[in-house]
Amino acid sequence: MKSIPAIIGAALLVTAGIVAPLLAAEIAQSARRSGYSFMTPDTQAIQNDDTANPGMLSVLDGASLWKDKAGALSKACADCHNDARVSMRGIAARYPAFDQALGRPVNLEQRINLCRVRHQQATPFAYESHELLALTAFVAEQSRGVAIETGADPQLEPFIAKGRDLFMHRQGQLNLGCTNCHDDNWDKHLAGSAITQGQPTGYPLYRLEWQSLGSLERRLRSCMAGVRAQPYDYGAPELVELELYLMSRARGMPVETPAVRP
């Protein structure tokens, strides 16, 4: 397990005065806002232009990887899935999805790795590796503009409930639950940064703070470190359940991958 890194500005969180009781009301469909709407026009402009958005560099890499032969079977994604613009459209909008063989939900990164192992007999890509991020960004970008519909499958119900519990429960040395900021205090500010609703509409996204593309799991781990909780490992069932809950909470909102965020 990774150790908790030093957090500069932890005192700022305390002075932000977030001590509200758990109000746990889900945001109404009409009030759902993407993180895009909380950004300054200058940052929005970076996302608006595909030739200015550094996330698109990863999408291009993913397009190339899509055609690369891999593994013992020397097969490319394209060999089974043909043109991603057709076969992958709408996929990211309903992920995480239930995997019958594993009996639990998997996110898009895990689905790509499962394909590599099961159908290409290739080694899975490491989490947050350039290749996995590029392929995930490429696949998710095919759903750009498609309304999110994650969680419709009844088999996912118990896992969405677990994800919801994870979103609600207080954790870490700062004893905060995701809901305290992202349900109860969005549109306010935390030390100069806007508090968004935490809608994961654009992942993997280019985060200015990272100066690189990163996954939702990376962002969730940062948030957990932010409240001084021990972050779950990449690929942990808790992170997938949380992602599943978050995506179902964002139902109706269009996919924006690759988004740009501050």
Binding site: K2, I8, I46, G192, S193, E209
Partner: protein, 165 residues
């Protein structure tokens, strides 16, 4: 600026505290990157850097417009546009644009060389700003004159600074 000046830590007690915390992290196998603030450029360094470009010439105020958000969303990536009022004809054009800062470790940000074929005396890029500071843009015109403008920018740290994966 020599190596020693670049490495100078102004606040030794803060540095010890950071290394102490990081030592624990390193022991457990994680080696995160800490974005400690290194030595800052000084106003004197800024003046010297500008003089390296302009020499003894008098730098006039005007003609240059520096578009940069007054309060940046994130200091790692700040969009910036510099535009110079100029007819941009073969006889009267912008030769170059030089951008400087006051408090990053180094005073230079970028030099951009245009010319009579540019059509418009304007460039855009994205820059890094370590702290709230003054940004200065200097343009050299084809007649050898120098023009400048400056803008004060406020930079805040992200609410929870992020470590490398």
């Amino acid at each position: 600026m020599n190596e020693k000046e670049a490495m100078r830590e102004p606040d030794t007690s803060t540095r010890r505290q950071f290394l102490g915390l990081a030592g624990g992290a390193a022991a457990l196998g994680a080696v995160p990157v800490l974005t400690l603030r290194p030595a800052e450029a000084t106003p004197a360094m800024l003046a010297t850097a500008i003089r390296n470009v302009t020499g003894a010439a008098v730098v006039k105020i005007g003609k240059v417009r520096l578009d940069i958000p007054p309060l940046v969303e994130n200091g790692n990536t700040v969009p910036m546009t510099v535009s110079v009022t100029s007819p941009m004809t073969p006889d009267d054009y912008v030769k170059s644009i030089h951008v400087f800062n006051e408090k990053n470790p180094q005073p230079n940000i970028g030099n951009f060389y245009l010319g009579p074929r540019a059509g418009r005396g304007q460039i855009s890029t994205r820059i890094r700003l370590a702290d709230s500071q003054k940004i200065v843009a200097v343009a050299q015109l084809s007649d050898g004159s120098f023009w400048q403008t400056s803008v004060d920018v406020v930079v805040t740290l992200a609410a929870c600074t992020d470590e490398v994966i």
